[in-house]
């Protein structure tokens, strides 16, 4: 690839797409070096930032600038001994703009990986070629599977330290792929790299002729960021009702929102949930343009044919493929806060644009991501970083999807009503997809909807 070596023209720059991805790996796997190299080689580290890194490196007695310092934390974190979850990094090539959610990879930071993976379309999992797949690698694979990240990259790093040997890479790739596939990860790309030497990060490696696949950056630039949305059910959570009541627009009544999934078309019969009333889409305003079709993740304003009572918190979905409305939500959750989650707790549940009261009715099991996904039944509580199953009863009916079907309308937060703290991240339905090989031959190469 030569795309990163020359400045891009204004025209080239405006025609790119956006990829959100997350990285996971422990400190020693070379994640900071990989991230530093992606930023550095794509010209996203500028000279004043490099100077700052050089100053800080010298101050710590290091001779060479430590690229890991580019992703170093805030002083407040060091002083208080805490780590704020996710740092976001930005870089671009001629083909794509990238948003990287850089998450710490320590065992106790499951919640940070969950946070970073929640918005990611791709996750990069690093392993050290000398160590192969370790417990943490399985944990990272499990989080990517749990959050239904559509694309997973296994970067087998430090290939220079195993003499760039193909069998080492092949064995690790095989072990990881079969494990991730057993959790239902639909697409896995394994790449042998040396982040330090630069092999297969941006430039193809001269040391691994046996590898015919893409470099990490090539893969990031070309992996599809959207699926054929015609196969996904349309979901439109109403954020805000736009009623100008002005002389120019006396009767305008539009429902503003961001399409969470699928396509909306003028003329589509739709159902408004939770009320269940039906109408058709009379018009779509796409931020100033009147359009016939709009799709996720566009922010639009929808006009309905009938004068229904629709307000913030309602969900508009196609009649015929609308989600069931329920007050009993069974979900897989990641507990995010030091305060444990217990049976009987009264919480707020924030789903799409609606927030309702809820009670924790049961905690059926806790999943240990480190020991073959062992289930511990009926735990006393879910502690911070715990993954587990929760049964909730809500005060009002919710149009909630299975997270496996639609990420954004299957996801929710639990919030402490007393002080507003975000306690728990929830995903309606079962934790892991069935491995696709066991799906009875129903070939589904489309990947997950998102």
């Amino acid at each position: 690839m030569t795309s990163t070596t020359s400045p891009l023209t204004a025209e080239e720059l405006s025609a790119t797409t956006l990829l959100r991805f997350a990285t996971a790996g422990s400190v020693d796997d070379g994640k900071s070096t990989l991230v530093g190299r992606l930023l550095h080689d794509s010209k996203s580290v500028l000279s004043d930032q490099l100077e700052a890194v050089e100053r800080a490196s010298l101050g710590r007695g290091q001779e060479a600038p430590d690229l890991a310092l580019l992703t170093d934390g805030l002083r407040a974190e060091r002083e208080q001994g805490i780590t704020i979850d996710v740092a976001y990094r930005y870089f671009a090539t001629a083909r794509r703009r990238f948003i990287l959610a850089d998450t710490p990879g320590h065992v106790q930071y499951t919640r940070n990986m969950v946070t970073g993976a929640s918005t990611a379309e791709l996750a990069v999992v690093l392993v050290d070629a000398r160590n192969g797949v370790v417990e943490q690698t399985r944990r990272h694979a499990a989080v990517a599977a749990l959050l239904r990240v559509p694309h997973v990259v296994l970067a087998v790093n430090k290939m220079d330290l195993v003499d760039y040997a193909e069998p080492v890479f092949a064995a690790i790739a095989e072990e990881f792929t079969s494990y991730a596939a057993s959790l239902g990860v639909p697409e896995i790309t394994a790449i042998p790299i040396s982040a330090l030497a630069g092999d297969n990060v941006v430039e193809p490696s001269a040391n691994m002729d046996w590898y015919g696949g893409p470099t990490v950056l090539e893969h990031l630039e070309t992996v599809p960021v959207s699926h054929d949305l015609t196969g996904c059910p349309a979901r439109f959570p109403v954020q805000y009702v736009i009623r100008p009541q002005t002389a120019d627009h006396p009767d305008y009544r539009g429902y503003a929102g961001q399409i969470a999934s699928g396509l909306l078309r003028v003329g589509d019969p739709v159902t408004v949930l939770p009320s269940g009333r039906t109408t058709t889409i009379a018009g779509i305003d796409a931020l100033g343009r009147s359009v016939d079709t709009a799709w996720a993740p566009q922010s639009v304003t929808v006009l309905l044919a009938d004068d229904l009572d629709v307000s913030r918190g309602d969900l508009i979905a196609p009649t015929g493929s609308a989600p069931a409305v329920t007050q009993d939500v069974r979900a897989t959750v990641c507990h995010l806060h030091e305060r444990p989650l217990r049976i009987g707790e009264r919480v707020l549940l924030k789903h799409a644009t609606r927030t309702v009261k809820a009670i924790v009715k049961a905690l059926p099991y806790r999943i240990d991501l480190s020991h073959g996904l062992a289930h511990e039944n009926d735990p006393a509580a879910l502690e911070v970083n715990d993954i587990g199953a929760v049964q909730l009863r809500t005060a009002e009916p919710l149009p909630i999807d299975a997270y496996a079907d639609v990420r954004l309308t299957g996801a929710f937060l639990l919030i402490d009503p007393a002080d507003g703290t975000t306690l728990t991240a929830g995903m309606a339905g079962e934790a892991f997809a069935e491995p696709s090989s066991a799906a009875g031959g129903a070939a589904d190469d489309e990947g997950w909807d998102f």
Binding site: T9, A10, L13, S14, A15, T16, T17, L18, L46, S47, D48, A52, R55, D72, L74, R75, Q80, I84, D85, A87, Y88, R89, Y90, S118, T119, A173, T177, A181, V185, I188, T189, A190, G213, P214, T222, V225, S226, Q239, I242, P244, D248, H249, Y252, A256, G257, Q258, L287, G288, A296, P297, Q298, S299, T353, R407, L408, L413, I415, G420, A425, D445
Partner: protein, 311 residues
């Protein structure tokens, strides 16, 4: 079937959005969430490019209805006249309500004292926090971007501030999916950053695509400047130049516009949007590194000011 894909020239489906459309949709979503969940939101509006882009997005988010937010400007007293001019014309054109909190008022009545170095950016924090408290704003939109500075890389889209506007890292909430938790106690507020995921280049490309008017000082022009700490500062009432700081005429433009005492111009021949975009794409300095004296004070300068209630 799970597969290890081999590399082929994969193409996006026809439903892929351009990065500008994706960022625009996200920002509009954030504006609408705040309109739906808060009582008294306000947009921090200086007339600089980021605040102008914020207002443009807010106008699009609620059209054909008016923007349901007021504007607030913290006036350091050392503003560029071209910027104030566009600020006032924009407010008038869209029929908006603008509140102005003036640093000069605080200096005149003794609540604030002029710093020995003459910098007024650090003095903005008190008028800003007092305006938020007295006007009872509960959501305050800022144009901050995570690419600007290390202290901002971990900033939330919804950043909770206590009644003194202070930022406590322990109280910041994880943000997952598109679920923003804006709950706050009485007297507290939330700073909201709709441009969190934008870069300087994205802002400029969006300005070009949307045909947004900017103050002319963002484009190359001849200006009387003098050099201080490696930056080209404009001579003016605010206190420059000192003896030994010769004034010269140079072809310059501004990459950021803030207080004249600490915002430097850069040498540039870029007179059009396209040439500015080309220049930024090739730049080897961040916009703050190139133009902001106040951020160079220490490694943690921005972080310190943020904790005290700065943007």
């Amino acid at each position: 079937m799970t597969t290890t894909v081999t590399h082929t020239e994969q193409r996006d489906s026809p439903y892929a959005l351009t990065h500008l459309d994706a960022l625009e949709s996200e920002a509009v979503h954030i504006f609408r969430e705040v309109a739906g969940e808060f009582e008294r939101p306000v947009i921090l509006f200086s007339g600089g490019k980021d605040s102008i882009v914020m207002l443009h997005l807010a106008l699009k988010a609620f059209a054909p209805a008016p923007v349901p937010f007021a504007l607030l400007h913290v006036d350091t007293g050392h503003n560029f006249p071209e910027v104030l001019d566009l600020r006032d014309r924009t407010v008038a054109r869209h029929g908006l309500r603008l509140h102005v909190a003036k640093v000069q008022d605080y200096i005149d009545d003794g609540r604030l004292r002029e710093r020995p170095d003459g910098l007024r950016n650090p003095l903005q924090t008190v008028p800003l926090t007092e305006a938020i408290a007295s006007l009872r704003f509960d959501a305050v939109f800022g144009g901050g971007r995570r690419d600007e500075e290390k202290a901002r890389a971990k900033e939330r889209v919804f950043s909770l501030r206590d009644e003194f506007s202070q930022w406590d890292p322990r109280r910041q909430r994880p943000e997952l999916w598109q679920l923003y938790n804006g709950r706050h106690a009485a007297g507290e507020h939330v700073r909201v950053f709709p441009l969190s995921n934008w870069t300087e280049l994205d802002v400029w490309q969006y300005i070009a695509r949307e045909g947004i008017e900017l103050p002319e000082i963002y484009f190359a022009h001849e200006r009387e400047v003098f050099n201080r700490n490696g930056m080209w500062l404009t001579a003016g009432e605010w206190g420059g130049p000192k003896p030994g700081e010769p004034v010269q005429t140079r072809l310059v433009r501004y990459r950021t516009v803030g207080d004249m005492s600490c915002t430097g111009a850069v040498d540039s021949a870029a007179t059009t949007l396209d040439s500015v975009i080309t220049e930024i794409a090739a730049s080897r300095l961040t916009e703050r590194g190139a133009t902001r004296a106040d951020d160079k004070m220490s490694e943690a300068a921005m972080e310190d000011r943020k904790r005290e209630g700065y943007f």
